[in-house]
């Protein structure tokens, strides 16, 4: 595999009972790029992310992360994962939460940097239970990147976040990507998709289309991504 590939998903299928959450998904994410997983609720975005982070063992197919085939506990040291809900300890302060995850990943410093990065350093002493939804989301992000992962997986990181903060977070993602971090982000918000370098459109557990936002638009022959998505999804349904 090329040094330039951060994540390689090869013909991955995952079934939950009769439901095929992933149905033969194959995709490659290059190092240092922001890759957007786009699709409606229940399309399989979260399942795909969870299989990349090793939480789910696929029924068939392979997942290779940073050159190592999963399952592999060591590679997880270099992966950051931000879950859909802000998974934090409500009884601990912001700083205590971030320090905890730093310790889990075996890094000493970096807590201050991470808190400054998400603009929570001045609120570091606040107990998480007292924070607003947006602050929790940022704290959760700080926990996911405190160990300076080479691959960052963000599952709908901007759900419930106001537009201004969303812009700020995306600015941060771009800075991280510029520093060489690979970011995979799932979303069903189309204007976020425009900010990704490449997109994967997912529906019914399948990859419908892949490419840069303009490539996806061109493929569908539409003016914007939303129309492109609806058109491509519609074609697949008919076929």
């Amino acid at each position: 595999m090329s040094e330039q590939v951060a994540v390689e998903v090869d013909s991955v299928t995952k079934e939950f009972g009769v439901i095929k959450a992933l149905n033969g998904v194959t995709l490659r994410v290059r190092r240092g790029e922001i890759y957007g997983l786009l699709g409606p609720n229940g399309a399989g975005k979260t399942t795909l992310i969870r299989s990349i982070v090793g939480l789910i063992a696929p029924n068939s197919g392979t997942v290779t992360v940073l050159g190592r085939k999963l399952p592999n506990l060591d590679v997880l040291r270099e992966v950051g994962y931000m879950t859909q809900q802000a998974a934090l300890y409500p009884g601990l302060s912001v700083e205590e939460n971030v320090s905890f995850f730093a310790a889990i990943y075996g890094v000493e410093g970096g807590v201050k940097d991470a808190l400054e990065f998400v603009d929570l350093y001045t609120r570091r002493g606040s107990v998480v239970a007292t924070l607003s939804g947006g602050m929790r989301q940022r704290c959760s992000l700080a926990c996911a990147l405190v160990h300076r992962p080479r691959l960052l997986l963000l599952d709908e990181p901007t759900v419930g976040v106001d537009p201004q903060l969303r812009v700020e977070l995306w600015e941060q993602f771009r800075r991280m990507a510029a520093d060489g971090t690979t970011i995979i982000v799932s979303s069903h918000v189309m204007d976020e998709a425009e900010r990704c370098q490449r997109l994967g459109l997912i529906q019914y557990g399948r990859l419908l289309a892949e490419g840069s936002p303009s490539e996806v638009r061109a493929q569908a022959g539409t003016q914007n991504l939303e129309e492109a998505f609806l058109k491509l999804a519609g074609e697949k349904k008919e076929s």
């Binding site: 090793g54 939480l55 859909q84 995850f101």
Partner: protein, 364 residues
């Protein structure tokens, strides 16, 4: 007040329960289990075994012995007086009564003086044996004229006449309290780890499952140990519960129970999705153990099939160990204590392994 709105709330409640089979089972099965256990234990419990050694050269000893034989309170066996203490120690009898060779002679002189040897650690059983003797004496001596004084010579293998019910239950209670509270706290907070999503995060980190379980175990054990010290000091110095053994040994057994409870909590939290369901484990796990572990009724007095059940519960061994130490003054040279402590330690190990094994599968 609107009847419709009230009806909507009632209907919503019952609709929810319809899909929650577990809660329904709890509501309708648990009462039968608990009442059933209690019923069988109270009604079918075996009577205490009492040994009788008749050395009387006269006829009275045999007369009283046969009256004892007919007692419904106890079951008698004929033994040699010299075997009595050994039988008390191994638990096969709770008391033995010796009618000395001058028993009849003494009665003729106006004093009835049987020798009663009590095991002493079980106040209820001792009381039953004494009552049975009393009524046996009343039956067989009633046809004797004249003033007869009954003067049994009572000796105790453990404890003494001052050992009361609290001394008996107190030893077990300090263990039960720690076990119960630690279990509840652990199961709820491990469940929170799951429901707030942090467990998923931990599973996506380089942490190993065993590290999570052992980390939890140590954290809760620290809390549990502080609690154990508090409970123990209160029992010993405020309630003055009798203690014939080493305080540090008691503490050690309590600590072992706490660790068992922590790991049982972690293990069982895998089978609950909500705090509500976790709390349901209390009637299913704690109450039967409370009834069957010998805290209220000695395991040996249970119907045989319940004894099998009692013998696979960790609390049974822990309660027995605490009583051995506090009432009987046992130390680690006693093989019975070694067995109890060993079994509890094995349960700890079993729950650690079981908790670790179920962790990965139940994340999502």
């Amino acid at each position: 007040m609107s009847g419709h709105r009230i009806a909507a709330i009632t209907r919503r409640l019952l609709q929810g329960f319809r899909r929650d089979r577990r809660t329904l089972a709890l509501l309708f099965v648990a009462p039968l289990v608990i009442l059933g256990l209690l019923g069988y234990m109270l009604r079918n419990s075996a009577t205490s075994a009492v040994g009788v050694a008749n050395q009387d050269s006269g006829p009275l000893g045999a007369l009283v012995a046969s009256a004892l034989d007919g007692s419904t309170k106890i079951t008698t066996t004929n033994i040699a007086a010299s075997d009595g203490d050994a039988k008390l120690k191994d638990g096969s009898i709770v008391a033995y009564i010796v009618f000395p060779s001058d028993f009849t002679q003494g009665a003729q002189g106006g004093v009835i003086a049987p020798q009663v040897h009590l095991e002493g650690s079980q106040p209820n059983a001792a009381a039953q044996a004494l009552q049975a003797l009393q009524s046996a004496l009343a039956t067989s001596a009633s046809n004797r004229p004249g003033a007869v004084r009954v003067q049994p010579e009572v000796t105790y293998l453990y404890g003494g006449p001052n050992l009361d019910t609290l001394d008996y239950f107190g030893a077990a209670a300090i263990g039960l309290i720690v076990f119960f509270l630690v279990f509840v706290v652990t199961i709820v907070s491990f469940l929170n780890e799951r429901s707030q999503g942090t467990l998923e995060r931990l599973m996506a980190s380089p942490l190993r499952r065993g590290e999570i379980v052992i980390g939890y175990m140590i954290g809760f054990t620290v809390l549990a140990l502080v609690q154990s010290v508090e409970v123990l000091l209160f029992a010993l110095y405020v309630l003055n519960v009798h203690n014939a053994g080493n305080v540090f040994l008691i503490f050690g057994i309590e600590a072992l129970m706490a660790i068992t409870a922590v790991n049982l909590g972690i293990f069982l939290s895998m089978f609950a999705r909500t705090e509500f369901q976790a709390v349901q484990f209390i009637p299913l796990v704690i109450v039967p153990q409370f009834l069957l572990s010998g805290i209220l009724f000695p395991v040996s007095s249970e119907p045989t099939w319940l004894q099998y059940l009692s013998n696979v519960l960790p609390l049974t061994y822990a309660v027995n160990a605490l009583r051995d130490v506090m009432v009987k003054g046992a130390d680690l040279t006693w093989s019975s204590l070694q067995l109890d402590v060993g079994v509890v330690a094995a349960f700890v190990l079993l729950f650690v392994v079981a908790g670790t094994a179920t962790l990965r599968r139940r994340v999502g």
